[in-house]
Symmetry: C2
Subunit: 286 residues, 2 copies
């Protein structure tokens, strides 16, 4: 079994995801030093108080100090920063991101001479909370991480990234950035849109907040939970993956119309078939 030494790891963006990485990297003894880069001063202060990182510095300093640069910032900022980060790194440093889209990000550095030092990844974990205070010790555990376009990565960089994800308890899947963006539109992005839209549906009609609060059952809370999600993170995801998402939304609206037709027309048998079909999700999820 290949041995990996501890590395100096810079976490660019010490929020929910970056902070959770910090906890896991520390626990699994993967980092020699954990360096934080955080534009929000309050979050930077909080990350230090919570001892998520050893110190906070500028991106330029982090690029000089770190063996690994982990980008846990919104996907539009990843696209903006990634080319200039790759400009500044050596041929030994490793860069990876944890963004929820992959096509726009890989496109942003497609022809960069240091392209092979970058490993595009997406750990399938998150919560509706934000900031370093929302970091979770058990984050990522037993979830999947997608690594994209592995043929475009240097072997040593890829091997360390896989090692890191396996150490923090994730199952590694490989696919192309294009495949990733189609699948996540269905499995993740649409859930956020239906939650946002559900919240807006209720807020549009239930004028009395107290009624919502009093009547909200656990079912409502679970379907609407994602509506609390951070717009700074989700706005760019939805825009970057807009073509796939539009297709999924059209299918989803079609499915809702099927329910509307069956319910409004009191088509009992048709409605039963729609529910039985939906029940099949049981076979797939635990």
């Amino acid at each position: 079994m290949k041995q990996f030494s501890k590395k100096n790891i810079a976490i660019i963006g010490v929020g929910l995801i970056g902070g959770s990485f910090a906890l896991r990297l520390h626990e699994k003894k993967l980092a020699h030093q954990l360096i934080g880069v955080e534009a929000d001063e309050q979050h930077a202060q909080q990350a230090l108080e919570l001892e998520l990182v050893d110190h906070i510095c500028s991106l330029e300093e982090a690029i000089k100090e770190a063996d690994v640069l982990l980008l846990t910032i919104p996907v539009n900022e990843i696209c903006d920063l990634l080319p200039s980060i790759l400009d500044q790194i050596s041929g030994q440093q490793i860069v990876l991101d944890a963004g929820s889209t992959k096509e726009a990000i890989t496109r942003s550095i497609k022809d960069h001479p240091n392209r092979k030092r970058f490993v595009p990844t997406h750990p399938m974990w998150g919560t509706e909370h934000r900031g370093p205070g929302a970091a979770v010790q058990t984050a990522f555990q037993s979830k999947s991480v997608v690594i994209c376009d592995t043929a475009d990565c240097d072997t040593d960089a890829l091997e360390w990234v896989i090692h890191m994800y396996e150490k923090i308890g994730m199952q590694v899947l490989e696919m192309t950035a294009k495949e990733h963006d189609i699948h996540t539109a269905y499995i993740s992005h649409i859930s956020h849109i239906t939650s946002f839209a559900l919240a807006n549906t209720v807020l549009a009609k239930e004028q009395e907040a107290k009624t919502i609060f009093d009547l909200a059952s656990s079912g409502f809370e679970s379907t609407v939970r994602l509506a609390k999600s951070n717009p700074g993170m989700w706005l760019p995801i939805l825009l970057q993956n807009k073509d796939n998402i539009t297709e999924v939304l059209d299918e989803h609206i079609k499915q809702l119309h099927a329910f509307r037709t069956a319910i409004t027309g009191a088509e009992s048998e048709q409605l039963l078939q729609l529910i039985l079909k939906a029940n099949q999700i049981k076979k797939i999820l635990k």
Copy 2:
């Protein structure tokens, strides 16, 4: 403070809801005897093995033995059975239901001479599982229960029902059956439809079940959880409340179209406003 003696309580339908009531009624020492009525032989057997009820008997026998009859069967069966149950009870017995709709149920016994012995209730708790094996010890705790049209109930019946719900840890709200059905369309029924439709959206497109399984994040699981719900329970709820639900569905589809327009047109500011609006649900839910 008024004292209430233990009662013989018959639970008509010992599934998820009835079984959970059994656990709570027993724990809170509310029942002298717990009698089960259960048409499904396997569930009846299981309810005895799990010691949810003291014995299982026919509905006719239960009506003879019980001080209180609690209907925890699908809402269409409540409408079917309730008139004949009220035919058979004395002026001392109490009947209540736990159905998720209230207008059709109260309409079914509107002019019955024993109408005042019936208390229409809806405890706002449930899970996507079914059967007595799914009964939960902590069910109902800290949730709300709606009691409808209280002016149509005898005071002694109403007082015992309120006492019982408070004992099992619920917050009692009163409203009309009509108000109940409008609010639950927004706060509960629509969540189930969006979950069913989301499951069908994913199942229609993700041909490989393994991809769904591998990529499903906690966000997806929480929005799609209700899609596992029991059609025997949910089909009649959706049909009985179809007018309110149709109105909510139309609003929801309108909200989804607003997201589609903003995403497809890359209208960043418009999309931000939609997400910020949805985020306001945070102020209402914890």
